[in-house]
């Protein structure tokens, strides 16, 4: 954007401004996180306190040869990509529509927030109930319109379980993109559009030459933050399928959670968590560098 940062040498103001945010996160997250990372190098099964001890990279070796880790990783990848793509597309479309002037806009804006403000436990149970293969609303509707003859056990078969949960999560999260992108759209000065129009730009040209570039920082950041959030989300999966049927909806956080709180194996669970974090870091580093660079330009 061709900005020249305001900069003075030995200036303490920028540090002073970030200190509170830094202090609170480091104080509360840093110690627990450090402790958890040390678990990943330990044999640490909660009910075997006498066997607790340092074992080097054993957990990591085990994870890398664990077929369940590999399949959970694959599911995590499918999970993140499909959810982010659809949430973004739906959210962006919604933001563009809600940015127009029309009667009832305030109500529409408030109503699309519903999925996001509904507590996860309700969301998960409600969708599970709607998917139910014997009484569920979705099956009833499909049958009513003659689309199916026999009810589909959505969450009971490996072929449909993952897709069904993904739809529920798209539903839950698309308002986030809609609201954030709407706020971004509002910050684009009208003059830019007017200028483009005077230059004879068509509607789609205005969209690609004004809207997208102006919105780029917000788009990049929302996708980044949402990716991290989706990668770690597990409550909906736990309630809807618990990772099943079989292991077909195991993602890395689900696996890590089950290992820790069902298997009491905090060592291995922490290893999975650390590996997930490292993988995320690798994936987003290039992306983040891009964002940081565009901020500095």
């Amino acid at each position: 954007m061709g900005q020249t940062p305001l900069r003075k040498k030995r200036d303490l103001l920028p540090y002073a401004l970030v200190t509170p945010a830094l202090a609170i996160t480091i104080a509360i997250i840093f110690l627990p996180m450090f402790q958890t990372i040390t678990y990943s190098f330990s044999q640490y099964i909660l009910y075997k306190p006498q066997e607790k001890g340092f074992i080097g990279f054993e957990n990591y070796k085990a994870a890398l040869s664990d077929p369940l880790f590999a399949s959970s990783l694959l599911h995590t990848f499918v999970w993140i990509v499909s959810i982010i793509v659809f949430q973004f597309l739906l959210g962006f479309t919604t933001a563009l529509l809600l940015n127009r002037r029309f009667a009832g806009r305030g109500i529409a804006r408030s109503l699309i927030l519903v999925p996001w403000v509904t507590p996860s436990v309700i969301t998960a149970l409600m969708w599970r109930w709607m998917y139910d293969g014997n009484h569920g609303l979705i099956n009833q509707l499909l049958a009513k319109f003659g689309l199916i003859k026999e009810f589909i056990p959505f969450l009971a078969q490996t072929s449909t379980a993952m897709g069904s949960i993904i739809v529920a999560l798209i539903w839950q999260g698309f308002p986030f993109f809609a609201i954030m992108l709407l706020a971004g759209l509002q910050a684009i000065p009208d003059e830019l559009y007017e200028a483009a129009e005077i230059d004879g730009a068509t509607k789609s040209q205005r969209f690609f030459n004004v809207t997208i570039p102006m919105l780029k920082p917000v788009i990049l950041t929302t996708i980044l933050l949402r990716t991290i959030w989706v990668a770690n989300s597990l409550d909906i999966i736990l309630i809807m399928t618990g990772g099943g049927p079989g292991y077909s909806t195991y993602t890395l956080p689900v696996y890590s959670y089950i290992k820790a709180y069902k298997g009491m194996d905090f060592g291995y669970s922490s290893t999975i968590a650390v590996l997930l974090t490292i993988l995320l870091m690798i994936i987003v580093t290039g992306y983040v560098r891009n964002i940081l660079k565009s901020q500095e330009d």
Binding site: I26, Y47, N134, K149, F151
Partner: protein, 412 residues
Amino acid sequence: MKRVIAVALILLIVGSFAFAQGGKEKTDEVQVVKFWYHFDNPETALNPLIEKFEAENPGIKIEPERISWDTYNQKLLTSIAGGYPPDVAQVKLWWQPQLVEMGALLPLDDYIADWDGKDDIHDRIWELTRHSDGKQYYMPLQMVILYLYYRADMFEELGLAVPKTREEFLDVAKKLTRDLNGDGIVDVYGFGIRGARGGHDWWGTFVLSSGAEFFDANGNSKLTTPQAIAANQWFIDLYTKHKVSPPTTPSDGFVEVIANMKSGKTAMTIHHLGSAKELEAVLGDKISAAPVPKGAEGYWTSFGDEENAIFAATKVPDAAFKWASFLAEAENNAIWQKSSGQVSVNKSNASADADRFLKATTDSAEFAGVLPAHPGVSEFVESLWPALMQQAFAGQITSTQMMQSIEDHFAK
């Protein structure tokens, strides 16, 4: 600058720790017993029992906390691992091996020896809840036994008798699986299997009664014997071959299993007294109950239980035991069961005019069994069994592979 911040933070944290240590208050006069429990009905409150207890035991105050079932175990473990467990908490038998292994529990034998109420508890309950090291850590609280629910009207309509054996059961289940309106789609299924978490009780009824055993008398696994694998195959076949259980079976939890009974989607299932009231509310006389059928080698049904444990870290063991034993005394236990809808642990509470559901429960008491006292049971119940069962139902693994995985898990 960063270093300054880091130093300041460390000082802040250390300082607050020191402050908190110094700030801990001591109360000697009133003994407070922290009690954790879970109840399915959110409207039920323990207040009457607590008031009664506190009136009888001045100087002891009960601080109850009702915790949701879904996070109960996690919260308990967190508090133990963090070093701050409650004094008394409602617990499950299958957690006992882990809790004992962690040194979290207080052995109660000396207390129980001096307790007047001990002879009024069913002997079978003492037997089942004693830990494998010979010590008693758990105080009985309630008894839950699984039995067979069936649609009496459908049995009558088809002229069927309540199945007594595994073979009769399969035969009946097949006959009950029907397409009622001739559209080629099955409308009623013979048997509702819980294929999601918690369904090991359904599985155990047919597999653990037909030759499979976690550990025999010598401590050897008998899960991969030909009989055990065949028994497991028999159970898998109910869903994959005979199709007497709905297609949704792999994802069905207790909500779905009971809903299917209510709507008439299934004609039989296994559950306990806790569902009797709601089933009767919808189905009236059409629902009835009997003990589970006999397997190839004998009977097995699940003894689902609730007990209270006292934690080793407690500062008030005497008061804690008073409260745990108070709840196991006939009069108070009867009040508790009014809320829980389950069966009292006291001999003197056994009622003569039992209805058909209570009768099915007590008739099953002598062969009701529990899973082995092994720290791996919890993981087996919570995640291993459902995953393996669902894979077997989907045809991804064989009966042999499933039983082998379970054996391997318990060999660890």
